[in-house]
């Protein structure tokens, strides 16, 4: 169970890293800096508090944050070997829950 959790969390941290790269390295660093200083959230803590990560993105990018969220989710699915299919009405957290559920089946 712990191994399963660790694998998922590691994949999510890497997915966030890759997803944020769409902003360029400097842009990614700005987000991490903001998370650290405004929300006291380190990069490694994102899997435990994804809602803070999303709130930070939405406060900066408004609805543009959705694009970054989707890039993170796509990267996560790929890292977990899952097939990503867009679902109407699904937000970042629902995709995340779905990925966790599907991944736990495969472990």
């Amino acid at each position: 169970m712990d191994k399963e959790k660790n694998t998922f969390e590691k994949a999510l941290v890497e997915a966030v890293d890759e997803g944020l790269l769409m902003l360029g390295e400097s842009g990614r660093e700005v987000i991490y800096f903001r998370l650290k200083h405004s929300y006291a959230l380190g990069k490694e803590d994102i899997p435990s508090h994804p809602e803070i990560f999303v709130e930070c993105l939405r406060k900066i990018f408004g609805s543009g944050a959705r694009v970054i969220e989707k890039a993170v989710i796509k990267s996560l699915y790929r890292r977990l070997g899952l097939k990503f299919a867009e679902k109407e009405g699904f937000d970042f957290f629902e995709y995340l829950r779905e990925a966790k559920k599907q991944a736990s089946k495969d472990f």
């Binding site: 790269l21 769409m22 902003l23 360029g24 390295e25 400097s26 842009g27 939405r58 406060k59 900066i60 990018f61 408004g62 609805s63 543009g64 944050a65 959705r66 694009v67 989707k70």
Partner: protein, 213 residues
């Protein structure tokens, strides 16, 4: 007003090129992604506008030309719109997924309406004036190029509306809106031969520059 209006713009636009160039250097060195290209095109656009301002200042302050329009300065100014447009387009494209089809349709419709309004406002006075072809083309080009910028820039406000980035996009749009008004007035007054260097409408250009830079 005459000296300020001619000497001040090259200074402030030159400072903007330097600041933009520093951002470009920062992005370019670290990763050659979409935003490096955005800064590249933005810097090139600002540089061309700076050249336009510098050439205009050269004509008016050094050569003593009363109204250097159309001139080489206009070639730089008009050329600057292209990289600036590309920079805005590339930025908005990265976040394009946040726009719905309805939003895009509404935005296209509003840009078309504005284009029709601006063209019809200018059509009679400009075509009625006895200007050469270059002046005629420039009279229409400036406001229409402004609207082309607006067509992309307002999408930035829509995308980032509830975010902190909206503020920057708001200023950018405000600068484009002020430039549209200034360019309409400029085209109108040059067509009617009522424009002179140091005209009050130049305050609009300065205000637009403040908002942008």
């Amino acid at each position: 007003m005459y000296f300020f209006s001619n000497a001040f713009p090259p200074v402030i636009s030159g400072a903007a090129v330097v600041v933009s160039g520093l951002s470009l250097e920062k992005y370019w060195r670290r990763a050659k992604g979409s935003f490096s290209k955005v800064w590249l095109f933005f810097t090139v656009g600002l540089f061309l506008w700076f050249m336009g301002e510098a050439v205009w200042a050269g004509y008016t302050l050094v050569l003593g030309v009363e109204v250097p329009y159309p001139s080489v300065a206009d070639v730089f100014w008009l050329a600057g719109y292209f990289p600036y447009f590309i920079a805005l387009y590339l930025y908005v494209k990265v976040f394009g997924g946040a726009l719905t089809k309805k939003m895009l349709a509404a935005s296209l419709a509003s840009t078309l309406v504005l284009t029709i309004v601006v063209t019809s406002v200018l059509l009679v006075p400009i075509l009625g004036a006895e200007e050469d072809l270059a002046a005629l083309a420039a009279d229409f080009a400036y406001p229409l190029f402004d609207l082309a910028l607006f067509s992309v820039a307002h999408l930035g406000v829509i995308i980032f509306w509830t975010g902190k980035l909206a503020k920057s996009w708001f200023f950018l749009n405000a600068s484009v809106a002020v430039d549209v008004c200034a360019d309409i007035l400029f085209s109108y007054t040059t067509a009617n031969n009522t424009y002179y260097c140091g005209h009050m409408l130049e305050l609009l250009y300065h205000f637009g520059s403040y908002l942008l830079y």
